[in-house]
């Protein structure tokens, strides 16, 4: 579950106040809105990369408003993937687990399992500068999912991809959501993408959220 309660944020003339919404546990939420409405900022507030002026934020059943980003139990995929420039794919996917000092065997197993699921096994020894746009996003997804987060935040992950790659990744995102119990909040301004994926549609306009339930990505109950 992701829940925001009366969240306010301000930077110069731009900001919002009293923002509240809930993405139920296991639901695929899609957040739409015009450029400059603050969609990325909203994700950063949930991540803990920005601090709200007021209000409360829940991730899962835990209030995380005062917690640092790393203690919130979420996975974040920014727009361009933001892969670590000097690490290879294996190290990227295993990063969250190595930070948690997981045993090397466990990291290796998890990396291989995720790489197979994401179709990047043949890329494990490559660095980001030798990956295509689609491959980068797959790796960024794997990196975000490695520590089995309760919540996955995706910031326009498919925006810079060609139609075929976008189609493949759409299928992959649906598959990930179907096979894990992860709650997703996916920012996009691509209507087709939103319709295909959304269990819950959220529209950010003029500092207000408008909610609407859709078919597709409703709460999932299976776990990988």
């Amino acid at each position: 579950m992701i829940r925001l309660e009366n969240v306010a944020w301000q930077a110069g003339a731009f900001g919002f106040s009293d923002l509240s919404f809930t993405v139920p546990g296991g639901c695929y939420g899609v957040l739409t809105g015009r450029t400059g409405e603050g969609k990325t900022t909203l994700l950063e507030l949930i991540c803990g990369l920005r601090r709200p002026l007021s209000g409360r934020i829940w991730v899962g059943d835990r209030e995380v408003t005062g917690l640092p980003p790393g203690a919130r139990g979420l996975g974040y995929v920014p727009q361009d993937g933001a892969l670590f420039p000097t690490l290879n794919v294996r190290e990227q996917i295993g990063f969250a687990l190595s930070i948690r000092k997981s045993p090397p065997d466990g990291i290796k197993r998890r990396v291989e399992e995720l790489a197979a699921a994401l179709g990047v096994t043949h890329l494990l020894d490559r660095r980001p500068d030798r990956l295509s746009g689609g491959e980068r996003q797959r790796v960024a997804l794997g990196r975000a999912l490695a520590a089995s987060p309760r919540v996955l935040l995706l910031d326009e992950p498919l925006s810079a991809l060609d139609d075929d790659t976008r189609e493949q990744l759409l299928g992959l995102l649906q598959c990930i959501h179907r096979e894990t119990a992860v709650t997703v909040l996916h920012v996009t301004h691509h209507r087709m993408e939103a319709q295909r994926l959304a269990g819950l549609m959220l529209n950010l306009e003029g500092g207000r959220i408008r909610e609407g339930l859709v078919g597709g990505g409703g709460p999932a109950s299976e776990k990988l």
Binding site: G48, G70, G75, A82, F84, T86, A96
Partner: protein
Amino acid sequence: MNSHADAPERSWKIDPLWIVAGVITGAYLLFLLGMIASAATYSSPTELWRALLAREIQYAFGLSLCTCTLSALISLLIAVPVGYLLSRGRFAGKAWLDAALDVPIVLPPMVVGLCLLILFQTAFGRMIERWIPFTYSVAGVVLAQCVIGAAFAVRTMRGTFDHLSARPEEVAMTLGCTRATAVWRVTLPAARRGMFAAATIAWARSLGEFGPVLVFAGATRLKTEVLPTTVWLELSVGNLEAAIAVSLLMVGLAVLVLTGVRVAGERL
């Protein structure tokens, strides 16, 4: 009728701007090379070599290499956190801090030396000197070099961090890192070329540092004499051969460092 008459004129002519820029660049380069070549051909190689074998000059050469390396490392240790703060930090007075850190670059070198000398005459300075004597000592040479070297290294590191996206670092934080771990594991490895460049710039600046070293650390032979001091000391006693020999040695070192940086920078 000429079929080409109406065709648009092909403009293969070189733009006059390029010609002017090319001539100015060529003249400037010729002037620089002429300066070095005239110094190099002033005396015979045997004379120059003999001058370099003098004990004082060999000491100055060794001291220059050691102090420059140490001041480059210290400059880098200062430049990484300061550059990071200037690049990533958002705080009131940032523009003022940015300007203040340029002070060593814009101050006349002699004034930097004089300020150092006066600082170590204060109660605070004397307290420090109870532990490490700086005034007229080798430590003073390193400190005088650092003041200038670090200012240049800070500029380079700030530019390096400005060019690196903050996103990977932020993602690392969402994956469980503290900011310090994220910087250590993600940002610094990506900034290694910039760190290398910053240390090199600090090293090269330190090698040529004369004014602050002379005023603060003195020019005592076989004690605080570095290569620029040697040039000045030899010139002041009319030993032009030795001054030229040391100058050429410094030119050689500079060329070596620049080449080394290019080669190593490409491999990093």
